[in-house]
Each structure stands twice: as C-alpha cells, then as structure tokens.
C-alpha cells in the first residue's frame, strides 16, 4: 500500500499545510459573513428609515445613545496581544523550546477567556436594549457574533494549551501555526466591528 495520501502515514507537513488551507477556506465564508454584517450596519445607518437608526426619546423610553466604541477597540488590542503570544509560542515550537511553547499557549488561552468574558460584560453594560431601533439591533448583532468568535477562540486556545503541555507539539506544531491564522482573523474582525461601532 502506498504511503501517500493516507492521513496517518503522510508527512506531517503535508497534513498540516492541507489543514491550514481548509481553515483558510472556512475563513473565506466567515469573512463574507463579517462583510455582510458591515453592509447591514452601514446600509441601515444610511437609510435611517423613519429616523429610527437612533430613535429619539419617546414615551417610556429614553433616546438611544450609541455605546462607547472604546470597548470594542480594547478588545481589538487584546486580540492583538493574543496574536503576539501565539506567535511567541509558535517560535518556541520552531526552536523546540517547551517552556516558551507552554508560556505562549497558556497566555493565549487566558487572553481568549478574558476576551469572551469582557465582550459579554460590555454587552450587558449598554443603556439600551435589543429592541431600541436599528442601531441597537446592529450593536447586539456585532457584539453577539464577536462573543461567538471569542468562544471559539477560547476552545482553540484551551485545547492548544492542553495539547502543548502534554508534549504534542514537540515535533509537529501545525496546530499552533493554524491558530495563528485564526488569531489574525480575530484581530481583523474585531477591528471591523470597532470601526463600525465608532461610526454610529
């Protein structure tokens, strides 16, 4: 039986590179999704149908004041930090330095949890609710999807850290490399979200 094209017999670099392509393709779908969210936000803002993008005060309900977008920028910075520590872990894997791997992946796992929790906290702190017009709808769409992103990041982060400390990345560390791609997307998508929310 040939040793080619059999996942458990193939060279790890072949498998890893292939898996990376798969992740990139899934990200293509996610990118299209994110760009559509931006389209929703700016289209509704531009249309301002009936002046209800940011409704004025009415009986029993205060005016909708947009959330402070700084929170979204902080999340973007934090995601950037996560990317940096994952890179650190990746370099540790390349130089076969287990301490560096564990440190980097551990920090990454921690950061990913913080990202998720902090996103939820921000969503709970706003003055408006989800029913307060088009901006509010978009705000919760963006932040809710962002929370989902960070949840997935936490899963990847914790998984990688656990696998790292079990020594699974001493030779073949493609999973850390692929996590890098994911972290880059986390930074970019957070940036897109922060950009939108800064232009309310």
């Amino acid at each position: 039986m040939s040793t080619q094209v059999n996942a458990h017999h193939e060279h790890p670099d072949v498998v890893g590179s292939r898996n990376k392509l798969g992740v990139v393709l899934i990200l293509v779908a996610d990118i299209a999704f994110a760009l559509s969210v931006l389209f929703v936000y700016f289209y509704l803002k531009q249309q301002d149908v009936g002046g209800m993008w940011l409704p004025r005060a009415s009986e029993g309900q205060a005016a909708t004041v947009p959330a402070n977008a700084m929170g979204a920028w902080y999340l973007t910075l934090l995601a950037g930090l996560g990317l940096l520590v994952n890179n650190y872990a990746l370099r540790g894997a390349r130089t076969k330095n287990p301490t560096q791997i564990n440190l980097g992946l551990g920090a990454g796992a921690l950061i990913s949890i913080v990202l998720f929790v902090y996103q939820i906290i921000q969503m709970r702190q706003v003055e408006f609710t989800v029913t307060w017009g088009a901006y509010a709808s978009c705000y919760f769409l963006i932040t809710g999807l962002s929370a989902l992103h960070f949840f997935i990041t936490a899963f990847i982060g914790i998984g990688n850290w656990n696998r790292g400390r079990l020594g699974l990345y001493s030779n073949d560390f493609w999973h850390i490399d692929i996590a890098n791609v994911w972290w880059i997307w986390m930074v970019v998508s957070s940036l897109l979200g922060a950009f939108a929310l800064s232009n309310s």
Partner: protein, 622 residues
C-alpha cells in the same frame, strides 16, 4: 472482528462511546434535547415585555427547542467526539480512524458517522432522493390545487406553506444533487486520491443535512410559512412559528455547505494524483470545485439574513421592520447576494457532469477544454455582480438598474461558452445512445429555452411585464430542473455502476427519461404562456383566462411524476437486482473507472500516476 479499539485505558472494559453512537442515538438525543429545551424555555423564559414591536415568546421557545434538537442530534451522532478528543489531547488512533471509516462494518456503516467518502456519497444520494420525494409531493399538491381556477382544494394558508416549503426544499435538493453524491463518492477517485482532505468533516456535512430536515419538516405542524422560498421580510415576520423551522433549516444547512466547500476545494487543490496537472484535471472536477467555491462566500450572506430574521422574531430587533428603522430592501439585497450565485452553484456541476460524459458517449475529445474552464470561471466571477436584477422592480435604486442589466446580459457570454463546448463535442462524434447521451441533447434544448427567457427577464422594461408572474417560475424551472436535474439524473445513471456495482435498468431509465422530458416541456411551456398573459406567481386561484394553461401544466405534472416514480423504481430495483457492472462499462478514460466494483476502502492499490488528460478518444495514444 468485534471491537477494533486498542483500549489504552484499562478501566474502559466495555465498548467506547464512539462505537455506541449512530442514527438511533442521534434521534433519541435530538428528541430529548428538543423536549428538554422546549420545556425549560416554556417554564423559565420571561413573558413578553412592552416596547418590542414584533417579538414573541412563542418564537423564542420554538427556536430554543429546535436548537436543543440540533445539539442533541449532533451529539448523538458523534460529531463532538473529534473536537473533544482534540481538546483533551487524545487524538484518534489508527484503529479508531479505521472504525470511523467503516472498515469491515457492513451495512451498519451507512447509519453512523462514517468518514469513508464512498459511504458519505451514498448517504448523500439517499438523502437527495428523500428531499426530492418530499419536494415532489409538495409540487403535486400545488399543481392539483392549480387545476381549478378558483383554487380552494388547499386552504390559502396551507397553500402558501406548501409553495414556500416546496421551493426551499427543492433549492437545497438541487444544490446537493450533484456535488453531494458524486462530488463525494466519485471525485476523490477521479483525482486519484484515497479519501477527501477532511474525512470527519465529510461525515459532518452529511449529518448536518439530516439534522436540518427536522426543523423544516416540522414547519408544517407549526402553522407553515407565509412566504415563498425567498422568505421575504417583512412578510416573514408575520409568519407563524413554521418560519422558525425555515430559519433553523437554513442556518444548519449553511454550516454543512461551508464545511463541504472547504473539504472539496482542499481535496482537489492538494490531493490530485501525481501528474494530474490542472490541464489534465477532468472538467467535472472543475465544475464541482467552482460550485462549492462559489457557495463559500455566497451562502453565509443568506445565513446572516436568516439569523437576523430570527432575531427580529424572537428578540424584537428591527433589522427588517421600517417602524424600527429597518428595511425590507436590506433583506432583499442580502438574500439575492446569495440567491444569484446560488443558481450557478446548482447549475454548474450538472453541466460539468454532462461535459464529462459527452466525450465518453461521442468517443471523441471534449471540444476546447480551455473554453469549458473559462466558461465556468466566467460564470462564477460574473455571478457575484448580477444580484440586483432580481430587484429591478423594488424601487431600491433605480439608477443601478442599467449597470445590473449590463452585468446580467454579459453573463450570457460565458454561458454561451458552455454551449459551444457541448455542441463542439457532439459535432463529428459518434452517437452511443444511452440516457446520458440523450440527456446532453435535452440539456441543450432546456438550457437554451431557460437561457433565452433569462435574457428577456434581464431587460428592465420587459421585466416590468414579467417579474412576479408565472413566466419567472417557468424560467427558473427550465434552468434548474430542465437543465440541472437532467444533468443530475444523467450523472446518476452514468456513475451508478461504480457506486453500486450494477447497471441501472435500461428500459426503465429510457421510459423515465421520455416521460420526464416530455412532461417537463409541456408543463413549463404552458406556464410561460399564463405568465405572459398576466398570471402572478404564488397564487392559489386565478382568473378564468388562465385556466387552459394551468390545466395543461397540471396534467403534464402528473406525467413528470410518473416518470420520476419510474426512475425511483429503476434505482431501487437495479440496486438489488440489476445487471452486475463490469469495472468500466462505459470504457471511459477517467480514473474512477480503473478501480474494481465494489470499490476497496482505500480506493487504489497503488496511487496512479497521470500522464495525459482523460479525453484522448480517437487519437493515436491517450
């Protein structure tokens, strides 16, 4: 061989979890998940508060129940085993992977989370047939109601639900009908690989579709949907809870499509056999990849539109409600951004399959392989730029009508290239008459009619007369069914011997072919006529002047139904009792015909090395 597991953990004395999970546990956990979530939601969700325009607690409860079904079903089928084993750092062993691949497992492997692409291909074939069966029954209900001008055979609410669910089910069915069974079973062998790039994702993409069927079928019991398959908001927000079933169906199917897209694309890009350069890659592979690669960015837009629809219904957001700053045009843009590329997702694999068959049955090379590839690429590229031709009449941006008319009419040029390839291939070829051969000619007829009627529709002034009428319905049935389904059925007959080891009964398939093609053309020609005369779409009753056209269509629909039932019988009968197929019954030159029936688990003894394209008929050497 009983268990194949290497029990590393001495305390695990009984069968590991993975071996216990199958469709039965999936159903059980799915139902349990649905019931428990529904009950908890009913009990603990707060009542509706003031200030929300459209939200209802009922939708929240229904959606939570459906999410409970989804999580339960996917847990019960074993989809979570892989991710959690990864998380824990206990990757699957070789034996476990062989178990998942269904090694030595017999028929039970079709009922669980099996990773072997050949099993997944057969599973997709069966589920596609189920989907077409349900969609077909709904079609017959529609046509029976439309056999009388005054309607009334179905209550208007039931009629709208039948129309809408027929539409969305058929759209999903036509999306998967070629890339599902043949993209999965045949494609990896055709490129000389042992399996796909991500076998576990392959199983996932299939079982997601099974999970998705429950919500959409439950729609009927939840009051149905008020909209057509396009689920336009704001009408969708008025719909009973059946709309939540539609929303869940699309959300789950979107994940399946995304996963399948990544899998198929990576497989073709990275796992072609040695020597299979891009110029030696069969045209069917191009068609398959183009379709799923186009769906990758397109479908998420639809996914988002449905999430937002669900949020409007359940949470009181106002994405589509103008009273809250929302816009119906937002929905229409999102929908059609997906909706137009989507029809090429449906069409291209079917046409590519027929292009793959044409050289085999004319015993000559494919005419201008390069043009075929360019045509496919051109269609895919342009398809992202035409969506607002579905919105000419909405009034959303009258100044954009002309640019979209331009891009839409331009798409006729790469489409024409596909015609050129097909007629070029039958020109001066032999004529080995089989149902696939006849299907090529049927495609030329049906696709021509579909294409030209599309040109009328692409013209803004003509669209003012035709949009929203039965003319449109006839046009897209000509393209998706007359062209698409014809190609898919031909693909089934062509690849049946490799997938089942038997030939499909010739007589039955010929009878089916003629019944379906003649019935189809009569039915939908009649539909063009009533559309031109002014009958709107999606109506359950109509003016007297449309009676004759409708009766013709209804009568012919029964002919189509008979033809499809004959095909169904042919498939079932031949699968069990059909003539045993030789390894290469069509004497085709593509790689899938070099492996024996039944195809071994890992496809090839030794991986092939490719030295030329597979169209070397009539030349000195191939």
């Amino acid at each position: 061989m009983t268990t194949v597991m290497n029990h590393k953990n001495p305390t695990a004395s009984h069968r590991p979890i993975m071996e216990r999970l199958n469709v039965v546990t999936a159903l059980a956990l799915g139902v349990a998940g649905a019931v428990i979530s529904y009950y908890l939601a009913q009990k603990f969700l707060p009542e509706n508060t003031e200030g929300s325009v459209m939200k209802t607690r009922h939708d929240q409860v229904v959606l939570i129940g459906m999410i409970g079904w989804f999580i339960g079903f996917m847990t019960g089928i074993g989809a979570l085993v892989g991710p959690f084993r990864w998380l824990m750092g206990k990757d699957l062993s070789h034996d476990e992977n062989m178990y998942l691949a269904g090694k030595n497992a017999g028929i039970s492997r079709y009922f669980r989370y099996t990773t072997d692409h050949k099993v997944v291909g057969i599973q997709y074939l069966v589920i596609t047939m189920v989907i077409f069966g349900v969609g077909g029954i709904l079609a017959m209900l529609i046509r029976t109601n439309l056999g009388h001008a005054e309607g009334g055979w179905l209550h208007p609410q039931a009629y709208n639900a039948v129309v809408g669910i027929h539409g969305i089910i058929m759209i999903v069915g036509t999306i998967i009908m070629v890339t599902g069974p043949f993209g999965n079973f045949i494609m990896p062998i055709m490129i000389g690989a042992r399996d796909m790039a991500f076998p576990r994702l392959n199983a996932l993409s299939f079982w997601l579709i099974v999970a998705a069927l429950a919500p959409i079928l439950s729609s009927f019991f939840l009051g149905g949907i008020t909209t057509g398959w396009s689920a336009y908001n704001p009408l969708a927000s008025q719909s009973p809870a059946g709309m939540d079933g539609y929303i869940m169906f699309i959300c789950i199917f979107a994940i399946s499509t995304m996963v399948a897209g990544a899998n198929i694309t990576t497989t073709v890009v990275r796992m072609r056999a040695k020597g299979m350069t891009w110029t030696r890659t069969p045209i069917f592979i191009y068609g398959t990849v183009a379709s799923v690669a186009l769906a990758l960015p397109a479908f998420p837009v639809f996914f988002l539109s449905q999430i937002m629809s669900g949020m409007d219904r359940a949470l009181g957001t106002t994405f589509y409600d103008t009273r809250g700053g929302g816009s119906g045009w937002l929905y229409e843009n999102l929908f059609w951004l997906m909706g137009h590329p989507e029809v090429y997702v449906i069409l291209i694999p079917a046409v590519a399959a027929l292009m793959e068959m044409a050289p085999v049955f004319t015993r000559r090379p494919l005419f201008s392989f390069k043009i075929a590839v360019m045509g496919i690429a051109g269609i895919c590229g342009l398809s992202i730029l035409v969506w607002a031709h579905h919105m000419y009449m909405t009034g959303w941006a009258p100044l954009l009508n002309a640019p979209f008319m331009l891009t839409t009419e331009l798409i006729s040029i790469p489409t024409g290239m596909l015609f050129l390839v097909l007629v070029g291939t039958v020109w001066r070829g032999r004529l080995w008459m089989t149902v696939p051969t006849a299907s090529i000619f049927a495609l030329l007829l049906n696709f021509m009619i579909g294409g030209i009627t599309g040109i009328y529709l692409s013209d803004v002034p003509a669209d003012a007369a035709l949009h929203g009428s039965m003319f449109v319905t006839a046009h897209f049935h000509y393209t998706l069914m007359g062209a698409g389904l014809t190609g898919a059925i031909a693909a089934l007959i062509f690849w049946f011997p490799k997938m089942t080891g038997r030939m499909i009964d010739k007589q039955l398939s010929w009878i089916s072919f003629w019944l379906v093609q003649i019935g189809f053309n009569v039915a939908f020609m009649g539909m063009f006529m009533v559309g031109l005369a002014g009958q709107p779409r999606r109506v359950e009753a109509y003016a007297e002047l449309f009676i004759r056209g409708n009766q013709i269509t209804t009568g012919a629909a029964f002919v189509i139904m008979t033809g499809m039932l004959v095909l169904l019988w042919a498939v079932i009968y031949s699968w069990r009792h059909g003539q045993k197929a030789p390894m290469n019954p069509w004497q085709s030159k593509t790689l899938e015909w070099t492996v024996p029936n039944p195809v071994p688990l890992e496809n090839f003894e030794t991986l092939p090395i490719v030295t030329s394209d597979p169209y070397g008929y009539g030349k000195a050497q191939s």
